[in-house]
C-alpha cells in the first residue's frame, strides 16, 4: 500500500497538523519509505494468533469509583497559554 498526495493531506487534517503544499511531496516520499519497510510483515502467517494487548500477563487493576484526587483547578490551568477564572480560553467554537 502506498499513499498519494491527497492522502498525505487527509492524514495531515486527521492529525491536526497543517501540511503546506510545498511539504506534500517530501512527506509522501518519507511515508511511503516507512510503509514499504513495514510491508515485509505480509510474509508472516498470523492465522489464529491473538493480537497482544498486554505485554505482561496481568489484568488491569480496578479501584473504587470514588473521587480520590482533584480540587486544584488553578494548578491545572497554570501552564495554559491563555486562561481566565480557572478556565482554558479558546477561540469561539459555536457561532
Amino acid at each position: 500500500m502506498s499513499v498519494d498526495a491527497a492522502t498525505v493531506k487527509r492524514i495531515g487534517r486527521l492529525a491536526r497538523i497543517r501540511i503546506e503544499e510545498s511539504e506534500v511531496a517530501s512527506y509522501q516520499t518519507e511515508l511511503n519509505a516507512i510503509l514499504g519497510f513495514v510491508e515485509q510483515l505480509n510474509e508472516i502467517n498470523v492465522e489464529g494468533v491473538e493480537p497482544m494487548t498486554s505485554v505482561t500477563p496481568m489484568t488491569l487493576r480496578r479501584r473504587d469509583d470514588v473521587i480520590s484526587d482533584g480540587g486544584y483547578a488553578d494548578k491545572i490551568v497554570s501552564n495554559a497559554p491563555l486562561s481566565e477564572d480557572n478556565f482554558f480560553m479558546v477561540p469561539k467554537v459555536v457561532e
Binding site: R18, L60, F88
Partner: protein, 494 residues
C-alpha cells in the same frame, strides 16, 4: 583533592559516608564541570544549580548525623522526559515551551526520597523519537568520544543522548533515561556506559511524558554495572498511579552484581547475525561468549525466528500509540499556541510549528495506520506479530536459557549530520534492530561496554533476560565489564 566527578557513584557514596568530602563539594564539582563542558557537548537543556545546592546541603545535614538514604548526596542528571516540579520539562520539544509541571514523576520522587541531588534536565531526541539525539529542539548532543585522529563530531546515540553523554563526560554521577525501542541501550553502547531497560512494569511511567505507552520504560545510565544497579533499585517499585506498574518486591539489585554466571545458560540467537555486520562486532560478540564461558556459563545456539519482523512491527505500534498520546498537544492546556482564524486552524498551526519533522512524520504514520480501513491490516497485524516475537523468547527461556547475549548496536557511533541517514528515515531506524525486540516482548535488556572499534570508539554487548530477572543481567554484565577491563572513558577535548 582528586577530581570528585571522576568517582563512580558507588565510590562517591563511600566517600560521602566516610566524610572524605561533602555533598555540597561533590555537587559543586559537577556544576563546575557542566558549566565548562556544556557549551561544547549540549548535554543539558536546563541546569538547576540553586536547587542542586539546596538538596546537597540538606543531604550534608543528614550525612553529618550518620543518616540518609541509599543515594544521599549523589548528583544525578534527569532526562527532559521526566516531569520535575517547577522545573523545565519539555521532552526537548518546542511544543512544550515554558512547561513547568505542578507534579513530580514517580521515578524522580523515588530518587529524591533516597537522597539524590538533581543537577538539571538532560537533552534528548524530541519526544524520545530518534537514535542520534539530532531531533531535539535544543540542537544535537555531541558525543564526548571522537574517532582517533579525527576532530569530527559524533552522535552520542538517542534518544537518551544527553543522559549518555553527561554520564560518560563526568557531568553527573548517573542519569535517568527511557527506552521505547533502544533509547537507553543504544546511547549507552555508543558512549561506553552501562544502560539497562528494566522489564515493562518495573518502573512507574507516571509523570513521564508518554511516547508509546505499551513500550516505554524508564531506567538508569551509569558508568559501571554496580552504579546502574544501585540507581535501579531506587527507581523501581509499585505505583498505583500507573495501571501497568507491577506489584512486585524490588530486590537489592546491587547485591546481585558479583553473583557470577556459573551454571547459567546463555543463548546465542542466530537471527542476530546480520548481513553486512562489521567484522569487529561479530568478533566482540564471540569474545563476550568466551568471557562468560570462562566464568562457568554454558553457551547454547537458539533461534528467535521472528526477529526480523520486530522493527517493522515496531514502526506500526510505536507511531500509532504516539499519534494518540501526542494528540494532547493542542495549544490549549500547556506549551506553545499559534493563533489561527478558528479553533481548528489554531490546532493545525500550533502542531505544525511545535512539532519537529521526525515527530510529525511519526504522528502521520500513526494516524494513517489507525485510520478507517487500515486498522486491521496494519495495527492488529502488528499486535499479532508482537505476540509471535514474545513467544520466540518464551520458547528459548522454557528450553533452559537464562539470558541471551547479542550485540547492542549494528555499528559504533556515527557522525553528526550524516547525510545518508538524513535522507532515509528507515536507515536511521535500523540502529535499533538488536534492541527493539526486547521492548516488543516487554523484557529487560542491559547494554555493557565490551570493546572498541578500529577507531577507538566504544562498542557494547546486550544481555536480554527473563521478565523481572534483571539480577541475572547485572551479574552477567558485570562478568563482561570485568573481563573487558577496558578504559571506556573519553579523552576530554571539550
Amino acid at each position: 583533592m582528586t577530581d570528585l566527578t571522576k568517582l563512580s557513584l558507588a565510590d562517591a557514596r563511600k566517600g560521602l559516608k566516610a566524610k572524605s568530602f561533602t555533598a555540597t563539594e561533590l555537587t559543586g564539582a559537577y556544576l563546575t564541570a557542566i558549566e565548562q563542558a556544556n557549551p561544547a557537548l549540549n548535554a543539558y537543556v536546563a541546569v538547576t544549580p540553586e536547587q542542586a545546592l539546596d538538596m546537597a546541603r540538606a543531604s550534608d545535614e543528614k550525612l553529618a548525623k550518620g543518616q540518609g538514604g541509599t543515594l544521599e548526596g549523589i548528583p544525578l542528571g534527569i532526562k527532559d522526559l521526566f516531569g520535575t516540579k517547577g522545573v523545565h520539562t519539555q521532552a526537548a520539544s518546542h511544543i512544550l515551551d515554558g512547561f513547568k509541571p505542578e507534579y513530580e514523576s514517580t521515578v524522580t520522587s523515588n530518587l529524591w526520597r533516597d537522597g539524590a541531588v538533581m543537577l538539571g534536565k538532560l537533552n534528548m531526541d524530541e519526544f524520545a523519537m530518534g537514535s542520534s539525539n539530532e531531533t531535539s529542539y535544543y540542537g544535537p548532543v555531541i558525543s564526548p568520544f571522537r574517532a582517533e585522529g579525527s576532530n569530527a563530531n559524533l552522535v552520542p546515540g538517542g534518544s537518551s543522548g544527553g543522559s549518555a553523554a553527561a554520564v560518560s563526560a563526568w557531568l553527573c554521577a548517573g542519569a535517568t533515561a527511557t527506552d521505547t525501542g533502544g533509547s537507553i541501550r543504544q546511547p549507552a553502547a555508543f558512549t561506553g556506559t552501562v544502560g539497562i531497560k528494566p522489564t515493562y512494569g518495573r518502573c512507574s511511567r507516571w509523570g513521564v511524558v508518554a511516547f508509546a505507552s505499551s513500550l516505554d520504560q524508564a531506567g538508569p545510565i551509569a558508568r559501571t554495572v554496580e552504579d546502574a544497579a544501585i540507581m535501579m533499585t531506587s527507581m523501581s517499585g509499585f505505583d498505583p498511579k500507573d495501571s501497568t506498574s507491577v506489584d512486585l518486591a524490588v530486590p537489592d539489585f546491587a547485591a546481585a552484581v558479583e553473583r557470577g554466571v556459573k551454571g547459567l545458560t546463555i543463548g546465542v540467537p542466530r537471527e542476530y547475525r546480520m548481513d553486512g555486520m562489521p567484522q569487529e562486532i561479530e568478533k566482540l560478540w564471540q569474545q563476550g561468549l568466551e568471557w562468560l564461558k570462562a566464568e562457568g556459563a554454558t553457551v547454547k545456539d537458539i533461534s528467535l525466528p521472528h526477529t526480523k519482523y520486530a522493527l517493522p512491527a515496531y514502526y506500526i505500534v510505536a507511531p500509532a500509540e504516539a499519534s494518540s498520546n501526542l494528540a494532547r498537544y493542542d495549544g490549549v492546556k500547556y506549551g506553545l499556541r499559534v493563533s489561527g482564524k478558528d479553533i481548528t486552524d489554531m490546532y493545525e498551526l500550533t502542531r505544525a510549528a511545535g512539532f519537529g519533522r521526525e515527530v510529525k512524520r511519526r504522528i502521520m504514520i500513526g494516524t494513517y495506520v489507525l485510520s478507517a480501513g487500515y486498522f486491521d491490516a496494519y495495527y492488529v497485524k502488528a499486535q499479532k506479530v508482537r505476540t509471535l516475537i514474545k513467544k520466540d523468547f518464551e520458547d528459548a527461556f522454557h528450553a533452559g536459557v537464562d539470558a541471551i547475549l547479542t550485540p547492542a548496536t549494528p555499528s559504533a557511533a556515527f557522525g553528526v549530520g550524516d547525510e545518508a541517514l538524513a535522507a532515509d528515515p528507515v536507515a536511521m531506524y535500523l540502529n535499533d534492530v538488536f534492541t527493539v525486540t526486547v521492548n516488543m516482548a516487554g523484557l529487560p535488556g542491559i547494554a555493557v561496554p565490551a570493546g572498541k572499534d578500529g577507531a577507538g570508539l566504544p562498542l557494547g554487548l546486550q544481555l536480554i533476560g527473563k521478565p523481572f530477572d534483571e539480577e541475572t543481567l547485572f551479574a552477567a554484565a558485570r562478568v563482561i565489564e570485568k573481563a573487558a577491563g577496558g578504559d571506556f572513558a573519553p579523552k576530554a577535548w571539550w
